[in-house]
Symmetry: C2
Subunit: 238 residues, 2 copies
């Protein structure tokens, strides 16, 4: 099974220049040439690109745009597990499992690279770069999960949202130059709510407070950070 997205031959825009990413392992994915074990897809905003329990022979990496992994709950609510930025492997576990244990949706228009799992796994043992990329991804995921657990388990609404912003700011800065403390953030308040376990109404109130206190303003898909030290005083973990 594939994403419902339309296939495209190449993935011209790579918004990441990271090392330690599958996209940048030379022998696996160098340049725009198509290889038998690597295909590309595109998807539109809001489009679902992976579904829980879906069986797939591919391992997905986001090339451009924003997406998120989430879990749909029986009571109709959903928990966003993380936001995917260019260069992100959807989940390290997908390299070792046939079945997705999460769903995923595009936030903006996106392009995805799909590697054949069998190819990755065969090369994992031989190719040091691939092992390093997978190890890096495993470590990052583990840290992110630890932090999110602490935030959801122990911290207030303001602290949760401030943490989310700081977390995303760091990740955005790693991918592009940020000027004037203005970060591209194509999220609705509903996304924020689902990510930090609050209602959209309460997210709106907290963002209003942040705005009134001159800490930050989120509008038109841009987060404008006016008082960065206050933001990290509220949201920093340690």
């Amino acid at each position: 099974m594939k994403p419902t997205a339309s296939p495209c031959v190449t993935c011209p825009h790579r918004e990441t220049g990271f090392c330690g990413t599958l996209l940048n392992v030379p022998s696996l994915s160098s340049g725009p040439h198509q290889r038998s074990w690597q295909r590309f897809f595109a998807a539109k905003p809001g489009e679902q690109i992976a579904t829980r329990n879906q069986v797939s022979g591919d391992v997905f990496v986001l090339c451009t745009g924003w997406a998120f992994r989430f879990q749909q709950l029986p009571n109709g609510r959903r928990q966003i597990l993380n936001f995917l930025l260019p260069g992100d492997l959807f989940s390290t576990a997908t390299i070792f499992e046939e079945k997705f244990h999460f769903s995923a949706k595009a936030v903006t228009p996106i392009q995805i690279s799909a590697f054949e799992r069998s190819e990755i796994r065969t090369r994992l043992a031989e190719n040091h770069d691939i092992l390093a990329a997978v190890a890096h991804s495993c470590v990052e995921e583990s840290h992110a999960a630890t932090e999110l657990t602490c935030v959801l388990g122990q911290r207030s609404a303001e602290e949760r949202i401030a943490y989310l912003f700081l977390h995303l700011m760091r990740r955005i800065e790693a991918r592009s130059v940020v000027r004037d403390h203005r970060y591209p953030l194509p999220l609705r308040q509903q996304h924020i709510a689902d990510a930090v376990g609050l209602t959209p109404v309460h997210v709106s109130r907290v963002l209003g407070l942040f705005r009134d206190r001159g800490i930050c303003v989120l509008s038109e898909n841009v987060l404008d950070v006016l008082n960065s030290s206050e933001l990290s005083r509220i949201g920093a973990l340690d």
Copy 2:
């Protein structure tokens, strides 16, 4: 740096018979013989066996007893990340990092096996069993993290505690025979509170409700499940 625990030559009691565990990779750890790359430690209840930012050349696996990984927060509270049962690798990320990103404490008297990280990593590429054990551990951790995120982000106090019990019950059942729905559970209410993000006072109230409603009783280190279907109706994720 080592655990403050006292070293012992062998680790006589292995309470796990799992496949897919470093403890049971034959070439790595078979039988009670000491190897140069494997050492054993013991620790007493409450003893801290790992500390955040500690640099260690070892990868730890729990052989016997209960322990937990946690994060100490600046405000004095702590978040328990997971409980460690016999056979558990402390964290897959420790294979790829020098530094611990968590702390850990013993709940009961425990025995730990310490493998040299360099040995594991060298063999990772060559030895299929080790790679499989690491992959298995990565997948399990990922699932556990996803579930915990959903529980902490979206669910009520009753649901959180019921989930924790169900989660632990499954893991206990995988390691030993459970009779009469009585599960060994050597946890104080404070542990439960720190694991699911509640206060000990509120945990006490919820456990009181469960008791009154004939769902389950926790006392003397045993969880007595009286109405298992009601418990999973409350705590099951999907």
